[in-house]
């Protein structure tokens, strides 16, 4: 549930980066945090283990400027990707307005992507949301690994695996170099804001 404050004219929008473990959700947020520093007033909050794995979530608030006089505050969250943390993933999804599904393009991760997407579907159902209705963007991350000789899945295969039924906007990306990170973010923000406007009008 996004929250609209009519007194201060502020709209808070919650966008969650979801995906299997080590697919690059936190790396996406870290890149955004560096690249758009001027629009971010506070520090990125990361709740992680000693081994730098996300334990609960990362949180990055992001000012997008004004639409029709309303300040749009985008709140970016990631979920912990490790299989055992599904209870926590569910908690972070509460009140979500838009989701970026980050898939790992590495060949060996193929099945994990599919499993994670299925679990997203189930977790959203628990909040009476539908993966087919909620604003969603899919990102095929780590395409840069191809240059380093790591076998990665062709985008056509990833698309067939993950996006053949959903048919949502998708991007090849490399969170570590920043390739298409901003494009993914822009797309999910615009889809989410458009969907909110539709609901409100």
């Amino acid at each position: 549930m996004s929250f609209i404050n009519l007194k201060d004219k502020v709209v808070q929008v919650k966008i969650v980066y979801y995906g299997p473990g080590r697919c690059g959700k936190t790396t996406n947020l870290e890149y955004i945090n560096r690249k758009f520093r001027s629009q971010i007033q506070s520090e990125m909050v990361s709740l992680k283990t000693h081994g730098d794995r996300t334990l609960f979530f990362d949180f990055l608030p992001f000012d997008m400027g004004k639409i029709k006089g309303y300040d749009i505050k985008i709140q970016l969250y990631t979920v912990p990707g490790q299989v055992k943390y599904n209870a926590t993933r569910k908690l972070v999804l509460k009140g979500v307005d838009g989701v970026v599904f980050v898939a790992d393009a590495m060949e060996k991760q193929r099945e994990k992507n599919i499993r994670s997407l299925n679990q997203l579907h189930e977790n959203l159902q628990a909040y009476k949301e539908s993966i087919f209705k909620l604003p969603l963007v899919i990102q095929y991350n780590k395409v840069d690994l191809k240059e380093h000789g790591v076998p990665i899945l062709p985008t056509a295969v990833l698309r067939k695996d993950l996006n053949s039924r959903l048919k949502v906007p998708d991007f090849e990306a490399s969170a570590i170099t920043g390739y298409n990170v901003a494009a993914t973010l822009k797309k999910i923000i615009s889809s989410t804001v458009v969907s909110m406007q539709k609901k409100l009008l």
């Binding site: 549930m1 609209i4 949180f59 009140g95 949301e129």
Partner: protein, 134 residues
């Protein structure tokens, strides 16, 4: 998707309650958030400079975690949560299923006195909030 919209009038009423019941008492900062981590309103004594947006996200996570723990031990909920520090303390109290009231206060206020005032403030806020659902 549901959207929480509160009228300007209701927010002003809530702000007045927070000021008269808690800020006047000496509480540094009071925030009302929803369980998704959005800020409904925030009031402070003019001196404290907390990053309330990050705070709201963490507080919602914290409360959700404690809620899940309550269910594990067979409790419906732990409706009260309190963190004590050397100089400052944080008190969490549930307003209803969706809303949480968070007070940050120093060592000059006793917890008991704060709790009494929080209970009164919550009763009044509930009335204003109920009005928004009609």
């Amino acid at each position: 998707m549901n959207y929480g919209i509160v009228s300007q009038e209701q927010l002003e009423q809530i702000d007045t309650i927070l000021s008269s019941k808690l800020i006047k008492l000496g509480v540094d900062c009071v925030i009302i958030i929803d369980m998704a981590g959005n800020i409904i309103t925030a009031k402070d004594n003019g001196e404290s400079k907390y990053d309330v947006y990050s705070f709201a996200a963490l507080a919602a996570g914290n409360f959700a975690t404690v809620d899940a723990m309550a269910k594990l031990v067979g409790e419906a909920e732990f409706s009260l949560l309190f963190h004590k520090g050397q100089e400052s303390n944080i008190h969490f109290s549930k307003i209803d299923d969706e809303l949480l009231l968070i007070s940050m206060f120093g060592k000059d206020i006793s917890l008991g006195f704060l709790r009494l005032n929080v209970v009164e403030a919550i009763e009044q806020i509930r009335k204003v909030w109920e009005g928004s659902k009609d």
